[in-house]
């Protein structure tokens, strides 16, 4: 029969039992001498009360000391262990032991100031210490989805102890079913088979998500056939429930109401086994590293279990890639209390609108409609409207996109326009009565996606039946980034556009790279795009005023124009960086001219090895496998100059595996049944594989403390 303590470190509290003695000694004063006449009465009174007072003092001192000592002992959770026959009794004799140490993310859960992995590691080391000299063993560290390597059982205890001691906390999910299968298979090697018994010890937290109980239970391959091992499941949580709360989801959607760079950040918080709480602080942080700041503080009302959603609005200061992090107050498993997301905030697009044929009547003026569309609420586009004369004086390099409306011909600006596009600028050209196709073809040769031919009139507007005869948009390329926003009924706004007149185009050069975004129902090109150098040119065959087409009054006009401007400026190229999960391989799409130098993890450590190894996907894109949650940065090398830099556009967020956050635990009986029943398997909530019965003493000590407290009260009374 042994006395042991669940929290032996708390035995320091026993020092509190010395407090009454210390107080007694501290306050013990030399008596004051007082001459007193009636000393006979004092002597007599003292004589009569001395014994009673002495007894009372001793009892009081004992009660106080007992109160503090019992409380301190109770906190250390003492228990009396009485040896008992193991439930999982096999044949007597030495056993080959395979130890599986769970290092999954949920093992970072903190109980009593220590992580579950610390306890599991201790349990595993204790098992190793208890092995006899003729008992071979092997250790399998189980972290991540990959099938772990299980060495044959051997006798190098030092190496095994080092393996256990060096096992690091993982952040990925572990598949314990795979791990125990690999470990049990290792017990089939000759050294293990030479022993009388085969034993599997699993040091884990018993979370349900780590096990696949629909898979067959592991068996040891022996010459006599498959044999089930004895199984000891060492519960690192010591039978306690693992309540957890985690940020389970984070999405960012543009929110025009929040500002020109406004976003609506949707947060989902899950809880399991927690107590319901009100006014839980939720922080939205923006930025990374030293630039990180808290942008929004909010309060959540969280139920005991289930999901709570919250929407936060934030207006980013500027366009470009931005990192948002949503964080709850840390709990016992802090790794999943914050999620980050990389948001590609649209950059401001500066557009030069050239009105080739200004009209005094506003509703006949093409630029009027276009400017109104581009300056819509939350639009990232900043238009500047000029006429043909103004265009001649304009400096195109100051703009991202040039939109030419009903311009007779580019004239002397043609060369500058070509250079502008070649250098990455965007050009949008819309037709009109003033457009001179021949001059365009001559002056802007090779710039437009296709040469202009002549104007076709499908119907004379205002004549009977003209509505029916008008051309409609068809064969629309909905997959084009500029038109991808039109989904469902919204597409009708584009499909219903009618054109009475439009410019017919000549067939372009085969290698012109033109992409037709929409045609009219007679097959004529309505909207076409082509790449020129690093820039893009888009041609609309009709007008942006009501003269030739009614697109301006359709609901699709505003979003289409904003998207087209953004697309031509290259703002839509910036991909939304979807967050990944810990342990999931992630290909990195690097821009041309750059190569991967290193990836920088949330811990600030650069990982060059993986990058240098040239792990690549089939397409040739480098692949990284993030091993921890948080924001990962990518350091790229410029192939031309050889210089290295962090590219913010390539940063990506990695989230914890949600299955590891779900800390619901398996019923021990489910696991023991899977391993072959209680005859073979047992779950040890004390972390000790051997069978023993424990008698908890803390409740008795607590009773003693209460009794001492009451006794003290009576004695004082």
């Amino acid at each position: 029969m042994n006395l042991s303590f669940l929290h032996p470190a708390l035995l320091w509290g026993l020092a509190a039992a010395a407090i009454p003695l210390a107080i007694h000694l501290f306050y013990r004063r030399r008596p004051r001498s007082v001459p007193f006449p009636a000393i006979d009465f004092v002597m007599q009174a003292r004589h009569e009360t001395e014994r009673r007072l002495k007894l009372r003092r001793v009892l009081l001192f004992t009660a106080r000391t007992a109160l503090l000592a019992a409380a301190a002992l109770a906190i250390a959770r003492p228990r009396l262990e009485t040896p008992e026959a193991s439930a999982a009794v096999g044949p007597a004799g030495p056993a080959a032991t395979a130890i599986v140490l769970d290092t999954s993310a949920s093992m970072a859960y903190r109980l009593g100031g220590r992580t579950l992995l610390d306890r599991a590691r201790e349990d595993a080391l204790e098992v190793l210490s208890s092995l006899g000299p003729d008992e071979p063993a092997t250790v399998v560290v189980c972290g991540g989805e990959a099938v772990p390597a299980a060495d044959p059982a051997g006798f190098d205890r030092v190496a095994l102890r080092r393996t256990v001691a060096d096992a690091e906390q993982g952040f990925a999910r572990s598949d314990l079913t795979t791990c125990v299968t690999a470990a049990v298979r290792a017990l089939g090697d000759p050294a293990a088979l030479a022993t009388a018994r085969r034993r599997l010890v699993v040091a884990t937290d018993l979370t349900a998500s780590a096990w696949r109980l629909d898979a067959p239970a592991p068996v040891v391959p022996t010459p006599a056939g498959p044999q089930r091992p004895e199984v000891s499941l060492l519960d690192a949580a010591r039978g306690e429930p693992l309540a957890n709360r985690w940020v389970s989801g984070l999405v960012a959607e543009p929110e025009p109401a929040a500002g020109s760079h406004g976003y609506r950040i949707g947060v989902a918080v899950n809880g399991e086994g927690m107590e319901a709480e009100r006014d839980v602080p939720l922080a939205l942080r923006v930025g990374t590293g030293r630039d990180e700041r808290t942008a929004v503080r909010s309060l959540l009302e969280l139920p005991a279990s289930g999901t709570t959603r919250k929407a936060l609005a934030h207006d980013f200061a500027a366009g470009g890639p931005a990192v948002v992090t949503v964080a709850l107050p840390p709990d016992a498993l802090p790794e999943d209390d914050a999620l980050s997301l990389v948001v590609d905030v649209p950059r401001d697009v500066k557009v030069l609108v050239v009105n080739g044929a200004p009209s005094a009547v506003r509703h006949r003026d093409a630029a009027y409609f276009l400017e109104a569309a581009l300056t819509g609420p939350a639009s990232p586009v900043r238009p500047t409207v000029v006429d043909a004369e103004g265009f001649a004086k304009a400096r195109l390099a100051d703009f991202d996109v040039v939109m030419l409306l009903d311009l007779r011909a580019p004239g002397p600006k043609a060369a500058e326009l070509s250079a502008f596009v070649e250098n990455g600028g965007g050009l949008f050209v819309a037709m009109g009565d003033d457009v001179d196709p021949d001059r365009w073809d001559a002056e802007a040769k090779g710039l437009l996606p296709a040469p202009l031919h002549l104007v076709k009139t499908a119907a004379e507007r205002g004549t009977p039946g003209a509505e029916a005869k008008a051309a409609r948009l068809a064969e629309i390329d909905w997959d084009h980034p500029a038109l991808r926003v039109f989904t469902g009924q919204a597409r009708e706004g584009l499909e219903s556009v009618r054109a009475w007149r439009y410019m017919l185009l000549k067939p372009g050069a085969k290698d012109g790279g033109a992409r037709v975004l929409a045609r009219y129902d007679d097959g004529a090109t309505a909207l076409v795009e082509a790449g020129r150098g690093r820039g893009r040119v888009m041609l609309y065959a009709s007008t942006l005023d009501p003269e030739w087409s009614d697109w301006t009054i359709r609901t699709s006009f505003l979003p289409a124009m904003q998207r087209i401007a953004a697309w031509l400026a290259g703002a839509l190229d910036e991909r939304r960086s979807a967050p990944g999960v810990v342990g999931a391989p992630r290909p990195l799409q690097l821009p041309a001219g750059l190569s991967l130098a290193a990836v920088v993890g949330p811990d600030g450590r650069e990982r060059r090895e993986g990058a240098a190894r040239g792990d690549t996907a089939s397409q040739g894109a480098p692949v990284v496998t993030p091993d921890r949650p948080g924001l990962w940065q990518v350091r790229v090398r410029d192939l031309a100059t050889g210089g290295e830099r962090i590219d913010p556009a390539l940063a990506f967020a990695v989230w914890p595996d949600p299955r590891e956050s779900d800390t619901r635990r398996l019923e021990p009986s489910e696991l023991t049944a899977w391993f072959g029943g209680e005859a073979l398997a047992r779950v040890a909530s004390d972390g000790r594989p051997s069978g023993s019965r424990e008698v908890p003493l803390w409740s008795w000590l607590l009773l003693l403390a209460i009794a001492a407290f009451l006794a003290e009260g009576l004695l004082l009374g």
Binding site: P37, A38, A45, R46
Partner: protein, 301 residues
């Protein structure tokens, strides 16, 4: 009594007065102004016989009742020997030197003030006042005399007293048994803290010798209330004994024992026909003397 006169009788105020004479004078004046009209006009005499009036006799001694009956003038004659003889017996043992607070009189100081005042009042009404001071034995004694110089002698003796030695009431009783053969008033000023348990029986003996005995039992408030809490080393004031005790632990027992003793003292005095006056040394002196004197006047009448 005026406010100033009352203040003078406060022991705290008296304690600030430097000399016993001053204290006695202040007290005596205060007491006299507190007493009602005295029927004896300061004299303590006993009627002896009538004689027929002759010129030269004092007119105030003419018995007007007799003149009414007999239509002759008779003059009352008094016996001088019937004057009161009083022994002031003062305990000057070590325990009488106690005072529980600095601003109080010691028990001996209080006793001397009482005794001096009474001596003053007695001699003032032509009674004879004597003094016996005792501790382990009788150390000072003055035979009762009615001369004004007797007051000075008594006050001088009292003023020179220092508390010390053990209490031995027996010594005083034996002294009085030898010296006070005539019936006298004996006023004992003591705390009665005599280790001899017969102390009260000895005092009662004086009564049996036909003396009028009054015991002024002087106690300090600290003796009566026992205001000690912390561990204290109590030292005997008359011998080398000492005892260490935590005040709050022994207070209850002490007060019980003291209460029982005081009750016994009062009972035995009552049984022995001894006049008993318990005096707290924080008590104004007129509160002690005026009732005592009034009581004596009533009994004399």
């Amino acid at each position: 009594m005026t406010e100033a006169g009352k203040r003078l009788l406060d022991p705290v105020v008296l304690a600030r007065l430097a000399g016993l004479r001053l204290r006695v004078r202040a007290t005596a004046e205060g007491v006299l102004s507190g007493l009602h009209r005295s029927p004896h006009h300061g004299q303590s005499v006993e009627f002896s016989e009538h004689k027929e009036y002759a010129p030269g006799d004092e007119l105030r001694h003419v018995d007007w009742k007799a003149f009414g009956k007999f239509d002759k003038y008779y003059v009352k004659r008094f016996e001088q020997e019937t004057n009161l003889r009083a022994w002031l017996v003062v305990d000057a043992s070590g325990s009488m030197g106690y005072r529980g607070a600095e601003d109080r009189l010691t028990k001996l100081g209080y006793a001397c003030t009482l005794a001096g005042t009474l001596a003053h009042l007695l001699v003032r009404q032509q009674d004879a006042a004597g003094l016996a001071v005792f501790s382990g034995k009788v150390t000072n004694a003055l035979t009762p005399r009615a001369e004004p110089s007797q007051v000075n002698a008594i006050l001088e003796t009292l003023e020179a007293l220092q508390a010390g030695g053990e209490t031995r009431v027996e010594a005083a009783v034996q002294f009085l048994a030898e010296r006070a053969r005539r019936r006298s008033a004996v006023m004992v000023f003591s705390d009665l803290l005599d280790r001899d348990e017969r102390v009260l029986r000895l005092v009662a003996d004086l009564r049996r010798r036909r003396h009028e005995v009054t015991v002024f039992h002087l106690l300090d408030p600290s003796e009566l209330d026992f205001p000690f809490d912390d561990p204290t080393l109590f030292l005997s004031m008359e011998d080398a004994r000492s005892v260490e005790a935590r005040g709050r632990d022994v207070r209850k027992g002490y007060l019980e024992l003291l209460g029982k003793w005081l009750e016994d003292v009062r009972r035995i005095c009552g049984e022995s026909d001894v006049d008993y006056v318990r005096v707290r040394t924080d008590q104004p002196l007129d509160e002690v003397l005026v009732p005592f004197l009034s009581r004596r006047e009533r009994s004399a009448a």
